[in-house]
């Protein structure tokens, strides 16, 4: 019964639908009451795609990556470089290219980094992130170094948005991102509820047993890693038009830590946990940055606090509160 309830709260299409509806309705309301904070909702939605991808590895497969900024970087630089060198302005082909590039990188490094288990994977990913970050800095004649690449207005679905005012452009972009995110959420729901998803959970719970049951664990991990990379690469590509500047900062190791924290903040054991975590994190960051330049310090303390006090995240807090309320009002019988 508790398991069924958990599925209802954190792992159902209804929960996803409600979440998407809230994210859609909240935007005009925020624009009205706190205009400066509306854009962070778009950021939050984009980061939620990355965190969702990350969590397929962490929450469902049990692999902790400290290098997902790698794919954010790949996605963002795909957009930056194609706009700069090919003069492309339609976003859709760039999104597809970013996803393909992320998948290609994941397939290339996956067989090696996935082979040796937890700690190796975490640090190999950190290293790959650092290597690419170094490339963005060092090959400045291509990437612009620390100055990065400026991103102009993009064309969405073939519409030229160059002439409309910037606020309308941002609003259109929000719903564009939300539509893509909704598809990404639903696809992720299918993935985690498919035989693939169950096999991944089997690997997470006991890899030796999973292998004994005939699961090709390395191959499945590679598939999960690639899907995860595609999600994060897509998020990176969607970020570029919003930041209007693609710089190495997007691929810095700290960004990897951000994605980890979003996921554990929301709750890694719930499908919508990373989404909730990403939105809350984005607002936390934007508000805190207004008061202090020592955001790393605060974040570090928060990470440790969440890990010690509530390792299953905010969703599990909401979960237990709701369960308690339902038991109290007698809607449900106490599970025997």
């Amino acid at each position: 019964m508790v398991e069924a309830f958990r599925r209802e709260l954190g792992n159902s299409l209804a929960a996803i639908a409600i979440l998407v509806a809230v994210l859609g309705v909240a935007y005009p309301i925020l624009r009205f009451i706190a205009p400066g904070y509306a854009i962070y909702l778009t950021y939050g939605v984009i980061w939620s795609i990355a965190a969702l991808g990350f969590n397929l590895l962490y929450g469902y497969t049990g692999l902790l990556s400290f290098g997902h900024a790698t794919f954010i970087g790949i996605g963002a630089y795909t957009v930056g470089l194609t706009m700069k060198y090919l003069g492309l302005r339609e976003l859709e082909p760039m999104l597809v290219t970013a996803m393909v590039a992320s998948a290609a990188l994941a397939l290339a490094v996956g067989p090696v980094v996935l082979r040796y288990g937890g700690i190796f994977f975490a640090i190999f990913m950190l290293a790959i992130g650092q290597i690419l970050w170094g490339f963005y800095l060092k090959f400045y004649h291509v990437t612009g170094g620390t100055d990065g690449i400026k991103i102009g207005r993009v064309e969405l679905l073939g519409f030229d948005l160059g002439r409309i005012d910037y606020l309308t452009y941002l609003t259109i972009y929000h719903y564009y991102v939300l539509a893509i995110a909704a598809i990404a959420y639903i696809v992720m729901w299918y993935i985690v509820n498919s035989p693939l998803g169950y096999s991944l959970k089997a690997i997470r719970d006991n890899e030796v047993r999973a292998r004994a049951l005939g699961i090709d664990t390395l191959q499945l991990k590679l598939i999960a890693f690639t899907i995860s990379a595609v999600y994060t690469g897509l998020a990176g590509a969607l970020l570029a038009p919003l930041t209007r500047l693609v710089s190495p900062e997007l691929a810095y190791w700290f960004v990897s830590g951000k994605i980890v924290f979003m996921t554990i903040l929301g709750g890694a054991s719930y499908l919508i946990g990373p989404i909730v975590g990403a939105i809350i994190y984005t607002y936390l960051e934007s508000i805190a940055m207004g008061y202090t330049i020592y955001w790393y310090l605060l974040l570090g303390i928060l990470i440790i606090a969440v890990m010690i006090l509530s390792p299953r995240g905010l969703m599990s807090l909401a979960d237990s509160l709701l369960t308690r309320a339902r038991l109290r009002w007698g809607v449900w019988q106490r599970p025997s």
């Binding site: 400290f66 290293a127 790959i128 310090l297 570090g300």
Partner: protein
Amino acid sequence: MALPIYVLDTLFYSSLLFLIIAGLNLIYGILRVVNLAHASLFTFGAYATAWITTSLIVPRLGENLLALMVLPLVLAVILVILVSLALVTPLLRYSQGRGDAFQLIVTFGLLIIFEDLFKLIWGPHPVSAYNLFFQMGFIDIAGLRYPVYKFYVILLTAILALALWYVTYRTAFGLVLRASSMDPHMATALGLNTSRFLFIVIVLASALAGLGGSLYIPVASVQLGLSTEFLVIAFVGMVIGGLGSFVGAVVGSLIVSSLRTLTLIVFPELELVVLYLVAVIVLLWKPEGIGGGRGW
């Protein structure tokens, strides 16, 4: 540059790496975790030494060679140990037995806390203190001027490594160390107080990292982001040498440092790529590492 200079620079860099990797391996040997905040103690040692040198020693005692050699080093290591006792040790002990992910995430939290503490205390700009480096002067090697300071660091680390070897293989403490790193459960079952032991190991590892940072600062400047730079390189050394072993720390730091010198001569942009490719080759060929056995 002549060959002897390359060799000496390689030895110098591997001395610094050894001090980090030995600590990482000590902690890995006993706790089976890679402490992501470990290199931050190195950076802390570097910052502290620079600060002690430029604002305490030089204004009060002037450019006194002996004072510059001893005081900043000792004070910085003490500071690092205190910081480690306050922040690192309790968290590592708390996270023991809670799984890889927990330990990695918590130590990552520490890593970014340190990063901002450095910014808070010493500001965002690079900090340096070359006083000792220049006070020690230069000697001629193959017709080139070579700093005496680098000899000093190589010698000091060599002595330290020997001492560590002696402690590990010739004392009762070393026996306990090796036993609990090979099989912690059996060591506990045989009546060893692994909890107190853990404490000593973390402090020792922290002191080594702090010492490394203290020795690093007279030749270079320290800035934000240095911790991850060293962490990522030190991990290659751990993998190549063998996770958690003393011999691994020696072998790993020497190999990484040599590779680094070679790539910096040939194609500096690919330094990390080459290092990690070699790490992967070593893993495929000898998963336990070149110098690795079981445990420290």
